[in-house]
Amino acid sequence: MDDLSTAFRIAVVLLFAFLLAPLVVVLLTSFSNDEFLAFPPHHWGLGGYRALVGNAAFRAGLGTSLVLAATVTAISLVCGAGAAYALARFSFPGSGFLLAIFTAPLLLPAIILGLGLLLVFARLGLLATMPGLVIGHSLVTLPYAIRINLTAIRGIAPALEEAAATLGAGPVRVFFRVTLPLMLPGIVAAAALAFLASFDEVVISLFLVGPRLTTLPIEIFHYIEYRADPQVSALSVALILLTALLVVIVERSLGVLRALAR
């Protein structure tokens, strides 16, 4: 619309400024060399980034979070693609109910899911263990994986699978040679989302971590409860760049997949 009034344009600019303020401030303060973050910064430099590289707690947390997110992604893809395939291709009684149950964890607050997991895992001895964290995170990534894969499968014409079957391919071969390749864009998108959701997860992790096993977001959470220094800004910038990189990779690989499918 070209008849947008000047006042409206100014309002929109201010709203964008408000929305992006925390990210911009984090970026600027990551180049501060001060002991603590205060305005205006007195010294500029890369001290925050240097301190970050030397922080053993953050390094350990990063390691845990990367392994955790990769495992959770693999598990939610296998479980999610399988469940989505079954729900889309076999209509059986109770399939609608099952889908509702699979998606239900997204509707409940993470704080309640975390508490429930704490109660059960305390009995099972899974607190502060990698398997416990993997199960807890998969709970929130699985619904995304199922939903995205379901949309992907529903977009595939069953005629393609039928054609392969008529030409003599068995059901397993049809799945791996026809259905799975066509589902690939959905799987890539689901993988990226699952990885990010697990890597950034805070609330459920709070209930499941222990002194010996902590994820990166939990390390940051406890750190900033007591202090604000350039190190955390530098770490935040690194995390934002990692996210952006992942989004670009997905964007590119989806483009490549689309080109291959043509």
């Binding site: 619309m1 947008l4 009034s5 309002a11 929109v12 709203l15 964008f16 408000f18 929305l19 992006l20 303020a21 925390p22 990210l23 401030v25 984090v26 303060t29 973050l37 205060a38 305005f39 205006p40 598990i75 479980c79 999610g80 399988g82 469940a83 395939y85 079954a86 291709r89 076999f90 059986f92 149950i101 699979f102 409940l108 607050p109 993470a110 704080i111 309640i112 508490l115 429930g116 997991l117 704490l118 109660l119 059960v120 199960i135 998969s138 709970l139 699985l142 199922i146 990010l196 950034d200 805070v202 709070l206 940051i220 959470f221 900033i224 604000a228 935040s236 995390l239 934002i240 996210t243």
Partner: protein
């Protein structure tokens, strides 16, 4: 029957995971909310409403419930107020920057809530950017208290929720036929009247959905109230956390969780009622 058997194989892993990580914990949580705690993390098997009665009989916890509710309602209202112009702009602009601006609006969703809340701590703290700027132009002697109170939590929540609300509103605008606004304009309605009499009523489904989602996410949010509230803003989520991990009174934490889900139910009912009114 044969179909159900064929589907069982690929369904099994997801079903198992959901059973262990979702159904079992929730059932356990419900049951535990009826147990008694003897303090210090010891559980006593019982079937009692004591935890619920304690919540409803204690002025402190009723205050927590009340504070959480109005915090979430106010955060939703503020988010709506700030997101509506943004969504309207993104839905109507013909700028070639439109795609980029839309990505910019949604991008914060992908950034960890801890990072975004940390950004607000740097802006709102006593030594933060707002107070620093005010000091530079010597407007204030003592720093303004923008954090470690409800004001800080509301500012943070509003910003964190804006992308979600904007998405819901844009989806609403997409279904709105722009020729209706043109018709109103050509019949002589001034811009303000077009907005209030045509655009706003027709975008109500998006407004209601966005408000519901924002309310539900706000009342159950933990990171923002905990960090920007600095331990001084007790809401349902922070109380669940404290009872579960600090006081170690798990039955009471479970009971507060059930109360939170009940508030969800009420919000959903109000939403459906409002939707029915607007759809007719």
């Amino acid at each position: 029957m044969k179909r159900a058997v064929a589907a069982a194989g690929p369904l099994a892993p997801a079903a198992l995971l959901t059973a262990i990580a979702f159904v079992l914990p929730l059932a356990w949580l419900l049951r535990l909310s009826l147990d008694r705690s003897s303090g210090g993390g010891m559980l006593v098997d019982a079937v009692t409403a004591a935890n619920y009665l304690r919540f409803l009989g204690d002025g402190f916890y009723l205050g927590v419930l009340w504070r959480s509710t109005w915090m979430a309602a106010l955060a939703s209202a503020l988010t709506l107020l700030l997101s509506y112009p943004l969504a309207l702009f993104l839905a109507r602009t013909r700028s070639r920057w439109r795609g980029f601006l839309a990505v910019l609006t949604i991008a914060p969703l992908l950034v960890s809530s801890v990072v975004r809340t940390f950004g607000w701590m740097v802006i709102l703290g006593d030594q933060g950017w707002v107070n620093g700027l005010l000091r530079l132009v010597s407007l204030t002697a003592a720093p303004l208290r923008l954090m470690n109170n409800m004001l800080g939590v509301l500012i943070g929540l509003t910003e964190v929720m804006m992308p979600v609300m904007t998405l819901a509103l844009i989806a609403g605008f997409a279904r709105l036929d722009p020729t209706l606004e043109e018709a109103a304009r050509s019949l002589g309605a001034p811009p303000r009247k077009v907005l209030l009499r045509v655009t706003l009523p027709l975008s109500m489904p998006g407004v209601l959905l966005g408000s519901l989602v924002t309310f539900v996410l706000s009342i159950s949010s933990f990171v923002t109230p905990k960090l920007l509230g600095g331990g001084r803003v007790a809401v349902l989520a922070t109380s669940i956390y404290e009872e579960a991990l600090e006081t170690l009174n798990w039955p009471f934490a479970a009971a507060i969780s059930v109360v939170l889900v009940a508030v969800f139910g009420v919000a959903l009912m109000l939403y459906e009622r409002a939707m029915r009114r607007w759809m007719i």
